[in-house]
Structure formats: structure tokens, C-alpha cells
């Protein structure tokens, strides 16, 4: 059985990160932008786990452990901010949230 190479895993991680970044750039719904941010985080964890596995070290795995915890806290606070924003402005479309423009 042939194991896939490290380059293959990294290519998947890069593609996943790029898809998330494109989503952040082109979507206007704040919730979907937030989901794409989560995709980017998961892509970086995939790269960390792949490096960890192919080099036989533990540090990348432990770091992914920490990233999961921080992501949970980040999502809780971010969604609370979005809900507060919606209560104040009645919209979560990014092109209507332009108070700071000009």
C-alpha cells in the first residue's frame, strides 16, 4: 500500500485555505464569511497535523489541540457580536455595514 506524500496533504490544505479565502473575499453575508474563516483555520490545522505526522514530532498535534480551543472561543464571541450588530442595524450584509466609510 502506497501512502500519499506530504506534498499531497499540503496541496489539499492550500486548496482548502484558498477556497476559504475566496469565500471571505466574495461573500457579503457576515455569517457565511465567518464560516469561510473557520474553513481557513481547519486548513491550517490539516497542514500542521501532516507536518507532525511526517516528521514524527508531537508539537504540531498539540498546537492543533490549542487551535481547536481558541476557535471555539472565537466562534462564541464572533456570533455574539453578529447578533448584537443585527439587533442594532437590522442587517448582516457587509455592503450595508459601512458606517466607517468616508
Amino acid at each position: 500500500m502506497i501512502a500519499p506524500t506530504l506534498n499531497a496533504y499540503l496541496a489539499v490544505a492550500v486548496l482548502l485555505f484558498a477556497i476559504g479565502l475566496i469565500g471571505v473575499l466574495i461573500r457579503r453575508n457576515t455569517l457565511v464569511v465567518f464560516m469561510c474563516l473557520e474553513l481557513m483555520l481547519v486548513a491550517s490545522t490539516l497542514a500542521l497535523v501532516a507536518f507532525s505526522r511526517y516528521n514524527g514530532t508531537m508539537d504540531g498535534n498539540v498546537f492543533v489541540f490549542f487551535i481547536l480551543t481558541v476557535a471555539a472561543a472565537e466562534v462564541a464571541v464572533g456570533l455574539a457580536i453578529i447578533v448584537a450588530l443585527f439587533r442594532k442595524r437590522q442587517t448582516i450584509q457587509l455592503d450595508q455595514l459601512n458606517t466607517l466609510k468616508n
Binding site: I26, N29, T45, V62, V75, V83
Partner: protein
């Protein structure tokens, strides 16, 4: 893990991730996010990081996507409305997406790392004992800081979701 299974999981992950970006409906987008996370968890199993795959399903798929769905239902927004087209932001978006695509193509076509043989490296991520050892020795301080971070996040969410009229209330 065989190359065939890897290919299936990788394509599944990427297609569902693209589904998050292209879906107009936010509920469908979060369902695609869930499937994409399941694919990534499968890739983690292929890398013999069983604990991380389990945690990814538990924390991301179980808690975070459920929270997303809850908020999507709560706010009940009606998809992405057709925007009024301004030329400059459209051009900026096209340029940005083109640059990201260029970066990905150059990595996939030319990125070459010195290839460590997977047979020689031990699968340290498979052992639960090593996680516990690392978390309670080398990374003891970060673990405690993370505990404080979660506490602060909880307090922040409570403050944010309280209704108050302007900044005078919190003084």
C-alpha cells in the same frame, strides 16, 4: 491510508468546501461546512491522529456548526440579495481571487519539499498518553492560559448579549 481513499476524501472535502462558498442559502452553506469538516476528520484519521479527528468532529461539527445553524435560524436572513454593482469593488474582488488562484497554482505545480519517508517516522499522534504528557509538562502554562481565555470569552458573550442603551450603561 491508501492513495485511493486519500483522493476520495480530499475531493469530497474540497467540493463541499466550495459548496460553502457558492451556496446562496446560509443553512445549506453550514451543512456543506459540516460535510467538509467530516472530510478533514477523515484525512486526520489517515494521518493517524485519531484523537484530533474525534475532537474535530466533537467540537467543530458538534458544537460550532450547531451554533452557526442556531444563529442562522435566529437571524432569518433571506440569502444574499443581488447587490448594486459598483465597478471598483468587483474589479478588486476579481483581482484578489485571481491572485489567490495564481498562488495555489504555483504551489501545486512547483512546491517541492524534501520528502520524509512515512515508514521511518513513528506515529506519535496516535498515542493518547503522549498528548497527556505534553499537555501537563511542556505546555502546562498555555493550557492554563486557555482556561482563562475560555472564561473571558464566556464573560464577553454574556456582556455582549445583554441589552444596553449606549455606552453610558457600562460605566
Amino acid at each position: 491510508m491508501g492513495t485511493f481513499l486519500f483522493n476520495v476524501l480530499a475531493i469530497f472535502t474540497l467540493v463541499t468546501a466550495a459548496g460553502v462558498v457558492v451556496n446562496r442559502n446560509a443553512v445549506n452553506a453550514s451543512m456543506c461546512l459540516l460535510l467538509s469538516l467530516v472530510g478533514v476528520a477523515g484525512l486526520f484519521v489517515g494521518l493517524q491522529a485519531y484523537l484530533l479527528a474525534f475532537l474535530l468532529l466533537l467540537v467543530y461539527a458538534g458544537a460550532i456548526v450547531a451554533l452557526f445553524l442556531f444563529i442562522v435560524m435566529l437571524l432569518d436572513t433571506k440569502g444574499d440579495a443581488r447587490p448594486t454593482l459598483h465597478k471598483l469593488p468587483i474589479a478588486a474582488r476579481v483581482l484578489a481571487v485571481g491572485l489567490v488562484g495564481l498562488g495555489v497554482v504555483s504551489f501545486v505545480a512547483q512546491g517541492k519539499l524534501p520528502e520524509p519517508a512515512i515508514g521511518t517516522a513513528p506515529a506519535v499522534g496516535a498515542s493518547l498518553k503522549l498528548y497527556a504528557y505534553q499537555l501537563f509538562t511542556t505546555y502546562l502554562l498555555p493550557v492554563q492560559i486557555l482556561g482563562f481565555l475560555l472564561l473571558i470569552a464566556m464573560l464577553g458573550v454574556i456582556v455582549l448579549s445583554k441589552r444596553f442603551d449606549g455606552l453610558e450603561d457600562i460605566k
